[in-house]
Symmetry: C2
Subunit: 360 residues, 2 copies
């Protein structure tokens, strides 16, 4: 039997609870597909701080380096403790640290509105009822997040701070290729987000994306300004298939799209390097306010596990089977509290995990 | 009688039609308040191109320089002609040119959802029905739009393009002061948008805004990350009063907020300098697809005129009276096509202008 090594980083808040459910599903995959997963837990975020006074200790990086993929929970502290050393900067240190350390340049963030959950969307119900299925493909290791120089100069009224937005052709090309490849397997449309009317970087972005688009005549390519995209997203989300974005614009638009689904607890994400190595995490955050109550929705973590199988382990079939199991359980009407309608009796985190494992 | 000189720049598309209605209202203000407005028309955008081969001719700048304020219509060509010399870059040349030439650093973009027009909002009706009233205060002459250096270097795969996001203490302070002053006259809350967890510029932005906030103990100050703001805006727009933003984030969030009102044709905007000089323009754009049909909504242009009276000419009373006249006409059920419900018979651009002028 083939053996994969998975670094499991549950992190903070609801992270450990929902991770436990994802691992149940992974065990089921192991039985059904006759593969072995050697999972190795490591500390990250506030959970790591207590032991190492670091949010991303070297030991955790080592475990990740020895693995085929990282299954990540979530990091972040309670709202009222944001400014304590334990929690300050925890997301940036953990997430940007891992992205940079492993060159995770491609970030996939599906935002899918299931028609059955349309009532939870903040959109007008005639818009929401049709559902939508957007995949944000976000560049994750470049742009203004990491561009140099960054700094501060001067004093008094003339004190200034600055950051640099920068993209090279190879950075733009490789993320564009990811977007077009995936669009081929979806609805054959890529909307590339830029601000080419104002930013030099974005003029270049548009030019390189057009170069790549020429290699995919079967995929419809359309450029769109970021401000317009922020409007179109709420007006008519159905028009989008794959949304290709730089780091900063992808940060904003993926969150807008996620919120429109009304169910953050359902959204997985993947961040991978060219090698296939990747990190898989739910979109929703540590949700400290409900941690430990066993009411968190484990679906995002479970669907992240499916993405891991698909993108890092090249196991398309169990990935699909997990996704189908989730759909089946939802179709049967099972709901955790976050997606429960007024008439539903919510199930616990563990029950939802069991239901999906059984349906798989 | 006091005389004000107003530069009138109707521009393209529906610009001239809606401007004509605004000028009707301005004439009524002149009679009621015993002031004189000397309006001087000047060409801008595609309309200027035909005569000058420039989107913002020197002659237009001279007329603006001799005036107390600029009343601006809209610029922009038909979708299919975007890449012709007449239309390429027309918005950037006209708008960024005027902003820079006159130091229009403060951009106010109200996004108000009138409960009576809730049905037009893309938001779920139980959210929309409460209405909302957000004022985006956007910094307009700094940040990544104008920061230096900008450029392109290298060749082949290593070719790069870059822009610089930069803000100085005095730039941040003056726009923050505008936001806090206005919040005092509204619901006493400023939400300052940043990305202080990632960008050096935004760490500094937050620091300076906090310095300013300390001078306004009567105003609630709250920082919020831009990605979270993009989510909160669709989830719960009622939580916002004044949204203080840098140039880039303000561009994105003001458009998102505008679309949530469902009536772009109703939204005015103001852009002013420290001196009081300012430019006033509707939010909606040139809408070439409906130009010349006399169905465009003139309310945004009329409310922009009210803002001009308030901010550049220090005439609060007629500004209020215009706003009340608009509300009265809407309350009576009069609607242009863009805001008409299924049972309404839409009125023309000219009729709407007349109705408001009469109600004023
Ligand atoms: C926590 C933060 C650094 C991060 C980002 O901005 O990328 C987060 O918002 C995200 O989208 O993953
Ligand atoms: C046309 C463009 C340059 C402009 C901007 O980005 O500022 C527009 O989007 C706006 O918001 O006024």
């Amino acid at each position: 039997t083939k053996t994969y090594q998975i670094a499991v980083l549950p992190g903070d808040g609801i992270g450990p609870e929902v991770m436990a459910e994802a691992l149940k599903v992974l065990k089921a995959v192991s039985r059904k597909e006759n593969v072995a997963f050697r999972t190795q837990e490591a500390l990250v975020g506030g959970a790591a701080w207590d032991h190492y006074h670091s949010h991303l200790p070297e030991e955790t990086l080592t475990i990740c380096r020895e693995s085929d993929a990282i299954l990540f929970g979530s990091v972040g502290g309670p709202v009222r403790e944001q400014n304590t050393p334990k929690w300050q900067g925890v997301e940036v240190h953990s997430l940007l640290g891992l992205r940079k350390a492993f060159g995770l340049f491609a970030n996939l963030r599906p935002a899918r509105l299931f028609p059955a959950l349309a009532f939870a969307s903040p959109l007008r119900q005639d818009v929401a009822r049709e559902g939508f299925d957007i995949l944000v493909v976000r560049e994750l290791t470049g742009g203004i997040y990491f561009g140099q120089p960054k700094g501060r100069t001067g004093t008094g009224e003339e004190e200034k701070a600055f950051d640099t937005m920068v993209y090279s052709r190879c950075e733009i090309r490789r993320i564009a290729q990811v977007a077009f490849e995936i669009a081929r397997k979806r609805r054959q449309k890529v909307t590339s987000i830029d601000k080419a009317n104002v930013l030099t970087t974005m003029v270049f972005w548009r030019q390189v994306v057009e170069e790549v688009a020429a290699d995919y005549p079967d995929v419809t390519y359309e450029p769109m300004y970021v401000d317009n995209a922020a409007m179109q997203m709420v007006k008519n989300p159905q028009q989008f298939d794959v949304l290709l974005c730089g780091n900063m614009f992808g940060d904003i638009l993926s969150d807008e799209a996620a919120m429109l689904t009304g169910s953050l607890g359902m959204l997985p994400s993947a961040s991978f390097a060219g090698s296939g190595f990747g990190m898989y995490e739910p979109g929703g955050g540590s949700a400290q306010d409900i941690a430990g109550q066993h009411i968190a929705n484990p679906i995002a973590q479970i669907l992240s596990t499916a993405m891991m199988l698909r993108y890092s382990l090249n196991m398309e079939k169990p990935a699909r089977d997990i996704e189908k199991a989730v759909e089946k359980v939802l179709a049967e009407g099972h709901r955790t509290a976050d997606i429960a309608g007024r008439e539903d009796t919510p199930v616990s985190t563990g029950t939802m995990g069991d239901l999906i494992t059984t349906a798989y």
